[in-house]
C-alpha cells in the first residue's frame, strides 16, 4: 500500500476505534469525565482501569461508532476542554503514580471558532509541556491517524507505539498538497513527500514499536499490545523518576536534522 492508501485505510469507518482497544486492554474500568473548567468533551474517552494487575489511567481519542456518536465526538477532533480533561487526568495519574496510556486517532484538534475562543493552541501547548515532565510513566499508541499538534498533545510520551497502517503527520496530506500545488487532489504525492507511515516513524525514532494489524483476530492482536504495554510499564516503573524524566527529555531532544559548522547533525536517528 502507498502512504496515502494506508491513511485512507485508517480513516475508514468500521475499523476498530479507541473504545474497542480500551475494552480489550483494561479491566475494572471507571470512566472519568470533564475538565473541571468548562465542560466535557466526549472526543476524549478516559478513565482508570487495570492493565493486568496494575492500575493505569487511559486517555483516548474516540472517533465514535455511529453517525450520532461521530457527530457528538466531532469525528475525533478534540476541543480545548478535551485536552484540558486529558491534562487533568494526567496530573491525577501523576499524583497516584499511575502509568498513563494514551490512544491516539485524530485528524487533528478541532478547528472551530469556539475552539479558538477557548484557546486551542494554549490547551495543546500546556498538554505537551506538562506531559514532557509528568512524573509517571507514559505510553502512547497511534491506532489510526496521528494528526499534527492535536495528536502530539497526547504523544509526548516515554515510548510510542503505532499500528502497521497508522500514520503520523505534521499536516494532512490534503492540506499540504493544497499549499504546495494549490491542488488537494495531489494528496497522495504529499503523503509520500511528508513520510507519514508507521515504518517511516520507526526509522525516524518517532515510534518505538510497530504492531502488525490483524483485525480477524482482534483479541489476539490486543493481547500482543497488552504484553508489550506490561513489559514497558514494568521497565518504566522500576526506574527512578529522574531517570524516566531524563530519558523522556532526551527522546524528544534528539529530533532535529541540521548542519552546524559544516557537520550534519541528527541523521543517525
Amino acid at each position: 500500500m502507498t502512504a496515502y492508501e494506508k491513511l485512507k485505510t485508517v480513516r475508514q469507518n468500521g475499523r476498530p476505534t479507541a473504545a474497542d482497544y480500551i475494552e480489550n486492554l483494561f479491566s475494572n474500568r471507571v470512566r472519568l469525565c470533564g475538565d473541571r473548567r468548562f465542560g466535557e468533551d466526549s472526543a476524549i474517552e478516559a478513565g482508570i482501569g487495570l492493565l493486568g494487575d496494575t492500575p493505569v489511567t487511559y486517555i483516548a481519542i474516540e472517533k465514535g461508532k455511529d453517525v450520532t456518536q461521530r457527530i457528538k465526538n466531532n469525528f475525533g477532533c478534540p476541543k480545548p476542554e478535551g485536552y484540558r480533561k486529558a491534562l487533568r487526568l494526567m496530573k491525577q495519574a501523576e499524583k497516584f503514580r499511575r502509568p498513563v496510556i494514551c490512544l491516539v486517532d485524530t485528524l487533528g484538534a478541532y478547528c472551530g471558532m469556539e475552539a479558538e475562543e477557548r484557546g486551542q493552541g494554549q490547551a495543546i501547548a500546556e498538554s505537551i509541556m506538562e506531559m514532557s515532565a509528568l512524573r509517571t510513566p507514559t505510553i502512547s499508541i497511534v491506532i489510526g491517524e496521528g494528526g499534527s499538534g492535536g495528536a502530539l498533545a497526547l504523544c509526548t510520551a516515554d515510548t510510542v507505539y503505532m499500528l502497521e497502517n497508522a500514520c503520523y503527520s505534521v499536516i494532512s496530506p490534503e492540506g499540504c498538497a493544497s499549499i504546495i500545488w494549490k491542488d488537494s487532489t495531489r494528496a497522495p504525492d504529499a503523503a509520500d513527500a511528508l513520510r507519514i507511515t508507521a515504518a517511516d516513524m520507526k526509522n525516524f525514532g518517532v515510534a518505538d514499536v510497530v504492531f502488525d494489524e490483524n483485525f480477524d483476530n482482534f483479541k489476539g492482536m490486543c493481547k500482543t499490545i497488552s504484553a508489550q504495554l506490561k513489559k514497558d510499564v514494568d521497565r518504566l516503573t522500576s526506574m527512578p523518576d529522574s531517570a524516566i524524566l531524563q530519558a523522556r527529555y532526551d527522546r524528544f531532544r534528539k529530533f532535529g536534522i541540521y548542519e552546524e559548522g559544516g557537520v550534519l547533525h541528527g541523521t543517525d536517528l
Binding site: 472551530g112 471558532m113 509541556m129 529530533f255 536534522i257 548542519e259
Partner: protein, 268 residues
C-alpha cells in the same frame, strides 16, 4: 494582514496596511510603524533587538545552524535559498544574550520573512538551546514569536520540534526562571501550540494575529462568518489568553519593569 510590507526594487517600501509609500529611513526612525496609518510593520529581528536591548549588549548565538532538505521535499531547497538571500540569515529565528536596562537575559526573535518563520529543526534547536543555556546560567528568556507554524517541508521532524521546545521551556521553568513571551503578527499553528503560549507572562503587540488554526480553515470547518477581530490580540486578551497588549514604543520599558520585578542578578 499577513504580509505587512513589500520591498520595492528602489529600496522604498509600501505599507501593507494602507499601501502608502515609505522610505527605509522613515521605517527605521519610526520604529517600523507606518507614519500614515499607524500600522505595525514587520520588524527585522536585529532591528527589533536593537529597539529593546541596551546598546552593544547583544551577542548572537547559534547563528551558523543551517536547515537541510533531508526529505528532498518539493521546492524546499529553493525556498531556503531564497529566504537566506532575502534575510541574510540562515533561518527564521535570531537568538542571543543581551541586557535590558542592565538586566541580563536571553532573547529570541522570529523572522516571518524566512519561510513565514515556520519551525523546522533549526528553529527548534535554537529555541531549545536558548532555554537550556538560560537554565544553566539562571537567566530569564524574552521571546518575540511570529510564525506560520511547523515547517511541513521537514515532515514529522518539524512536529517533534514542538515537543522538544516545550520540554526545554518546562525545564527552564522548573528552575524557577522567568519566561516572557511577546506574540507578534502573526503567531499561529504549531508555535502557538507550543512555546508562544507557555510564557509566565504573555504580552502581545496591538492587532497581532494570534491563533491555532488559520482563519480560512476555521471558516471552512464551521461555515460561519467570523467576527472581524477574530484571533486578534485584543480578541485573545478578551478571552483570557494574554496578559497585556503593549504598544511598540512601550515595549522596552515594560520588559525592563518585568525583569526588575523578577529579581535578576543586576536587580539585586
Amino acid at each position: 494582514m499577513i504580509f505587512p510590507f513589500k520591498t520595492r526594487t528602489d529600496a522604498t517600501v509600501s505599507c501593507g496596511f494602507c499601501k502608502e509609500p515609505l522610505t527605509e529611513k522613515q521605517l527605521l526612525s519610526g520604529g517600523y510603524i507606518c507614519p500614515h496609518c499607524g500600522g505595525l510593520l514587520k520588524m527585522p529581528p536585529r532591528v527589533r533587538i536593537e529597539s529593546i536591548v541596551d546598546k552593544n549588549s547583544f551577542s548572537e548565538l547559534y547563528s551558523d545552524l543551517k536547515s537541510v532538505d533531508f526529505l528532498d521535499f518539493p521546492g524546499y531547497s529553493e525556498k531556503l535559498e531564497k529566504a537566506r538571500a532575502a534575510t541574510g540569515n540562515e533561518d527564521a529565528v535570531v537568538c542571543g544574550r543581551a541586557e535590558i536596562d542592565g538586566y541580563p537575559c536571553m532573547i529570541f526573535v522570529m523572522d516571518t520573512r524566512f519561510i513565514m518563520a515556520s519551525m523546522g529543526s533549526v528553529v527548534g534547536e535554537k529555541i531549545a538551546r536558548t532555554f537550556e543555556l538560560a537554565a544553566r546560567r539562571g537567566l530569564p528568556v524574552i521571546g518575540f514569536t511570529a510564525s506560520g507554524g511547523a515547517r511541513m517541508q521537514e515532515g514529522i521532524i518539524s512536529l517533534m520540534q514542538m515537543a522538544k521546545t516545550s520540554a526545554a521551556v518546562k525545564k527552564h521553568s522548573e528552575r524557577g526562571l522567568l519566561y516572557v513571551t511577546v506574540v507578534t503578527n502573526p503567531t499561529t499553528g504549531g508555535v502557538t501550540a507550543s512555546f508562544a503560549m507557555q510564557g509566565d507572562i504573555i504580552l502581545a503587540e496591538p492587532n497581532a494575529l494570534v491563533g491555532f488554526a488559520g482563519r480560512r480553515v476555521v471558516e471552512q470547518t464551521t461555515k460561519q462568518r467570523l467576527p472581524d477581530n477574530f484571533q486578534s490580540a485584543e480578541f485573545l486578551m478578551e478571552h483570557g489568553f494574554i496578559d497585556n497588549i503593549v504598544p511598540r514604543r512601550d515595549m522596552k520599558k515594560t520588559l525592563s519593569a518585568i525583569l526588575r520585578l523578577h529579581n535578576t542578578e543586576a536587580g539585586k
